[in-house]
């Protein structure tokens, strides 16, 4: 509860600073509306905002699910097969070198103005952190556990070791990747909406901006922030619940 109190206090402080800037700077509402005007707009347009938020949330969720599936399969392939490492690793690095911003117009061209291009954007933006973190976890299975498995198995069974030891051991690392993904997936979706769309919070913000409805723009921004923060906390809480163990690494003793 003390944490919640701190959050509320910080929010109140920010709102106060906002109001002071508007009052002292004598800013017109079409440059920076005061908090009350934004709140009024939020209330007035609640239904419409909710509709657009639903579209954006769907894009983010689909992007998260597909990006996580693709990222996990890539990481598994990378750790399982040397050939995959040789062919997929450069692609993975290249996927990070090309900014998603740069190919957003192409994605809209190829996948259309609907959900598809936004899901692809969210997917692309989270693919690297998910893959890189999970792969890293898979590569660093504590040696003691692998030794134990090797003595237990009369003949090597890579899949059994992967399934019973390496994958569970890498889950905390995947968890870090998913936390990053939850924080950046909304960027992908909104970016896609800016480039070309007919629904979603990003679309609404552009639309409001071009009509000087700055209060509505801020209202949409607040809803987007709430969405992103909510997503992060849900992911974080689920990970804490399902992966309660620490990434405990038994020290590996060298020759003694």
């Amino acid at each position: 509860m003390r944490g919640l109190g701190r959050v509320l206090l910080t929010l109140a402080g920010l709102l106060l600073v906002w109001q002071i800037v508007v009052t002292l700077g004598e800013l017109p509402p079409y440059i920076l509306p005061d908090p009350l005007a934004v709140a009024a707009s939020l209330w007035r347009n609640a239904g419409m905002l909710l509709g657009h938020a639903g579209v954006t949330a769907l894009e983010i969720l689909m992007g998260m699910v597909l990006g996580t599936l693709l990222g996990c399969s890539s990481a598994l392939a990378l750790s399982y097969s040397r050939r995959a490492r040789r062919w997929l690793l450069p692609v993975l690095i290249a996927s990070q070198a090309i900014p998603v911003f740069a190919i957003a117009p192409l994605l809209v061209l190829w996948l259309g103005y609907g959900l598809g291009s936004k899901i692809a954007m969210a997917l692309l933006i989270i693919y690297f952190p998910v893959t890189a973190n999970f792969y890293d976890g898979l590569r660093h299975t504590p040696r003691g556990w692998l030794d134990l498995a090797r003595v237990m198995l009369p003949e090597p069974r890579r899949w059994a070791v992967l399934r019973h030891i390496a994958i569970p051991a890498a889950l905390p690392a995947l968890g870090s990747g998913l936390r990053v993904a939850a924080a950046i997936a909304p960027i992908g979706a909104v970016l896609g909406e800016w480039v070309g769309s007919s629904a979603g919070l990003g679309y609404l913000m552009l639309h409001a901006n071009s009509r000087m409805q700055v209060d509505l723009m801020f209202a949409a921004l607040l809803v987007l922030a709430a969405l992103a923060v909510g997503l992060y906390f849900i992911v974080d809480a689920s990970l804490k619940r399902w992966l309660p163990w620490h990434p405990a690494t038994p020290e590996t003793s060298e020759t003694d």
Partner: protein, 243 residues
Amino acid sequence: MTPAPLAVSLRAARLVYGGLILFDGLDLALAGGCFTCLLGPSGIGKTSLLRLLAGLTAIGISGELRGDDGLPLTGRVAYMAQQDLLLPWLNVLDNVTLGSRLRGEHPDRERALHLLAQVGLADCALARPDTLSGGMRQRAALARTLMEDRPVVLMDEPFSGLDALTRLRLQALAAELLAGRTVLLVTHDPLEALRLGDHVLVMNGRPATLSTLPDLPGVPPRDPGDPAVQAAYRAILRLLGAV
């Protein structure tokens, strides 16, 4: 329940580490069904020798390893390390039956529960390892080692991370439960070796050589205060140059 005793011989073992010959042409024989302790200072290559016996080969180490039936040891060895190596996402029972699940067999839960009762963890079968004390975790590791039911058991300083009283209790437990198997216990604690070993080997020098201590009277686990144990303790300390 214990498998038939199997004697083990390692011939011409050689370890080169960082350009340094730690041992070369080393021969080691483990008598079938006996508890052998390998004693030596840190960094002498004890762990490497044990890993070689366990089939955990690495660059720079080699040797001819065989059971006395002439067959390789693969699949007939159980291994217990200094760390308990319990998997934190599995409860104690699932940790004990890890071997069968890795091999794709159906785990024998009855036997696992029986072994957990033998090591004094009957009430902790469903507990997560991180809720257990260090001594209890090492007990669970001992149950997992016994669950493998192999004729040869290799242990690498399994009790060195424990407090003195817990260590004494676990030594007694290990001596009782491992009786009849061919055991090699690597340790740097002379008292532990004298308490547990039917035979005690001392590894010393560079390149290292093995020497066998005269067998002590009595059946392990011996009383650490026994005059014969104390006399042998002093002899070892002199041999290793500690006094």
